[in-house]
């Protein structure tokens, strides 16, 4: 059989992988999204060299807005070092040769999954979210034909009934992440599965927020300084998670914490989910009550020199 011949055709990919035509198409969708805050714009998402559900929407949005002068930060669960964040950052290092950073303040574009950085973002930054299911009404109504109609008619009664039923059954709204918001008094939007702790940050944010859902082929946006309200009731106002303890490493309060299991005796500690924020605080001399504890040393990462050799194995 001679039909099988593989030639070296891999060649070179375009800057940031996508061809310019595709980027233009995505930028048009982004502009439409910005013009209609919170509205889900259908776009012809491409097949990417990473699996659907692993950030293909965010990657396409980032690729479309990325320029050679940009500095990119990629986080997953608040951290730059989680495996998927590493993989996506590596993808852009390879295909776009842009500068990357883990410092929130140095980044011009931040692609994220499941968290918003603790440090307040600026007007010069773009926050790109990876979105698995863009439709906030999806689990109330599985049909796209129906949910599009509901958005068009601003028919959000079903969502309020759901929240009310939560209160009736559980005494509170039992949604802890992907907590629905209303954008600019019009569209109900899913802020992607960030914990509701982060919802107040998306209200009136200085940075542009872009949301990309690759598998579902939707893009939506929140322009800077846009009113974003978490849905609630007068007698059951929206509230965020509160942690009893400060971060064990840097002592920060009023930040989102990860619970880390230390042993099988019930030992655990709470540390900042935003690893850059935590490192910066420790570099500034803030220390939590577990900072000196050897059990926590491998969590401290870069800023504590001795920990580095244990890490990563």
């Amino acid at each position: 059989m001679t039909a099988v011949a593989i030639t070296e055709t891999e060649g070179e990919y375009n800057f940031a992988y996508l061809d310019e035509q595709t980027k233009r198409m995505i930028r048009r969708a982004i502009l439409k999204g910005i013009a209609i805050p919170g509205y889900q714009v259908p776009f012809a998402a491409r097949e990417m060299p990473m699996p659907y559900g692993w950030g293909t929407g965010g990657v396409q949005v980032t690729a479309a807005v990325l320029g050679r002068e940009d500095t990119l930060k990629v986080i997953d669960q608040g951290s730059d070092d989680t495996t998927n964040a590493v993989a996506i950052r590596g993808f852009f290092e390879k295909t776009a040769q842009v500068k990357t950073t883990s410092a929130t303040k140095d980044a011009t574009i931040i692609q994220t999954r499941h968290r918003i950085p603790e440090k307040e973002l600026t007007e010069d930054q773009i926050l790109v979210f990876q979105v698995p299911i863009p439709e906030p009404l999806r689990f109330l109504e599985p049909r796209e034909t129906e949910t599009r109609k509901m958005h068009a008619l601003e028919e959000y009664g079903l969502m309020h009934v759901k929240l009310y039923e939560d209160i009736a059954h559980h005494g509170r709204i039992a949604t802890t992440y992907a907590y629905p918001v209303k954008v600019a008094d019009r569209y109900v939007m899913d802020p992607s599965p960030t914990p509701k702790f982060d919802n107040p940050k998306i209200d009136n944010m200085k940075a542009l927020q872009l949301y990309g859902a690759g598998r579902e082929k939707r893009i939506y946006a929140i322009p800077p300084y846009t009113k974003v309200k978490s849905l609630d009731f007068d007698d059951h106002p929206f509230e965020v998670q509160k942690f009893d303890k400060p971060c064990g490493l840097c002592g920060a309060r009023h930040v989102y914490l990860d619970e880390v299991v230390l042993d099988d005796q019930g030992g655990r500690m709470f540390v900042c989910s935003d690893s850059d924020y935590c490192e910066e605080r420790r570099a500034d001399g803030h220390l939590g009550d577990m900072a000196a504890n050897p059990a926590a040393s491998h969590l401290a990462g870069k800023s504590s020199g001795t920990a580095k050799t244990e890490a990563g194995e």
Binding site: A45, Y52, Q77, T83, T176, K217, E259
Partner: protein
């Protein structure tokens, strides 16, 4: 604790290196060549080409090798490559009536113009493991026959004279054919998009859906009107030349299901059709596709929509195995931020639940202690 570790970069690199070694297997055994895969695992190769939407045996063989035989992973590799290729345009419709037929069977007629041609098939083999094959024993050379020039018209064309079977809908010459790889899908989708979606769809998913219609979930009473497999010519209309030029030949399986239909308010009683077309000899998929295509036409034929296989949005949104596998497997990614939020909620709700239980119990024992009647006991517990 793989998520909290620093140095994920190194871990990923090492994991992939280990993977490459595992892929190669025992190094004292010769490695597979792409020719071996393309020539001897031909049905796997064509399945990957079909669901990967790219007709290239060499690349499909490479994808299968790279994916260690994981066909869905191979489909994904091929799709990710395909999406980077420049697109020059769309070919002319292939003429399956002019196919160089290697196999052609009809279950609805004993004989028909052009005859029945069994061709290469697993059908009627006894599924007994062939130990000679394990030892790579001698192989009989296949018998050959004279090539006949008789035309092999499609069964559905033979039947259509009487009006017993619905005519092919002839779209207007200028009507644009949809392409779901270029435009986001919206519902209701036309039959062109449905067929494209099914042609790219997962064989197993379509098989299960087709099977469900046979078991009563949206029954369509199908007969295998015709299944044909062979080579067809692909032509491309070159604007500069003003005529179509042949690009080459591809092997396809075409299946036309003929379905009993008692008529409805919209349509008189007649046979209706479902259509399946796939790359290579993947008959199971071609048949499943034809059955699901027919089921999805329920609206147009005025049938009641009751079953999953009739639900366009359900079928089309879940048929793509690259999408499905990505989203199912993304659960392997860290989710601890959201899990933390849920932990917090469950802890609080459990706390309240136990408090309530304790309060109820205390109230109940107080009531019994004071020798209260049934009604006051109930009140105390409120």
């Amino acid at each position: 604790m793989y998520v909290a570790v620093k140095g994920g970069e190194k871990a990923i690199r090492n994991a992939h290196r280990l993977m490459a070694t595992k892929r190669r297997g025992d190094r004292s055994v010769p490695g597979l060549t792409l020719d071996q895969i393309a020539g001897q695992l031909a049905i796997a190769v064509t399945r990957v080409m079909g669901e990967g939407s790219l007709y290239d045996e060499g690349l499909a063989a490479l994808a299968i090798k790279q994916a260690r035989g994981d066909l869905i992973e191979a489909v994904f590799l091929l799709r990710a490559y395909r999406t980077t290729l420049p697109r020059f345009g769309y070919s002319e419709p292939v003429d399956t009536g002019a196919m160089l037929v290697e196999r052609r069977i009809s279950a609805t007629f004993k004989d028909l113009p052009g005859g029945q041609l069994l061709g290469p098939t697993f059908d009627y083999t006894h599924r007994l493991l062939d130990f000679k094959l394990a030892a790579d024993g001698e192989l009989d050379t296949p018998l050959t026959a004279e090539v006949t020039e008789t035309a092999m018209p499609r069964v559905t064309d033979l039947l259509s004279g009487e009006g017993l079977i619905e005519e092919d809908v002839q779209p207007e010459e200028t009507a644009a054919v949809g392409d779901l790889t270029r435009e986001p899908l919206s519902f209701p989708a036309g039959r062109d998009l449905r067929l494209q979606n099914l042609a790219r769809g997962d064989e197993g998913f379509l098989l299960a859906l087709a099977y469900s219609t046979q078991r009563g979930y949206g029954r369509t009473h199908p007969f295998a009107g015709e299944i044909r497999y062979g080579a067809v010519e692909v032509e491309f209309f070159a604007e500069e030349l003003g005529f179509a030029v042949p690009l080459g030949r591809i092997n396809v399986t075409e299946c036309q299901m003929v379905n009993q239909f008692k008529g409805s308010a919209k349509v008189p009683p007649q046979f209706t059709r479902g259509y399946g077309l796939v790359f290579g000899q993947v008959e199971r998929k071609a048949m499943s596709m034809a059955m699901v295509d027919r089921s999805l036409r329920c609206e147009e034929l005025g049938e009641e929509r009751t079953a999953p296989a009739q639900d366009e949005e359900f079928v089309m949104s879940h048929s793509d195995n690259v999408q499905a596998t990505g989203f199912v497997e993304h659960l392997k990614l860290p989710h601890y931020v959201d899990f933390q939020a849920e932990l917090d909620l469950v802890r609080r709700m459990r706390g309240e639940w136990f408090d309530r239980q304790a309060a109820d119990q205390a109230a109940a024992s107080d009531a019994i202690g004071s020798g209260a009647t049934d009604t006051s006991e109930k009140e105390a517990a409120e």
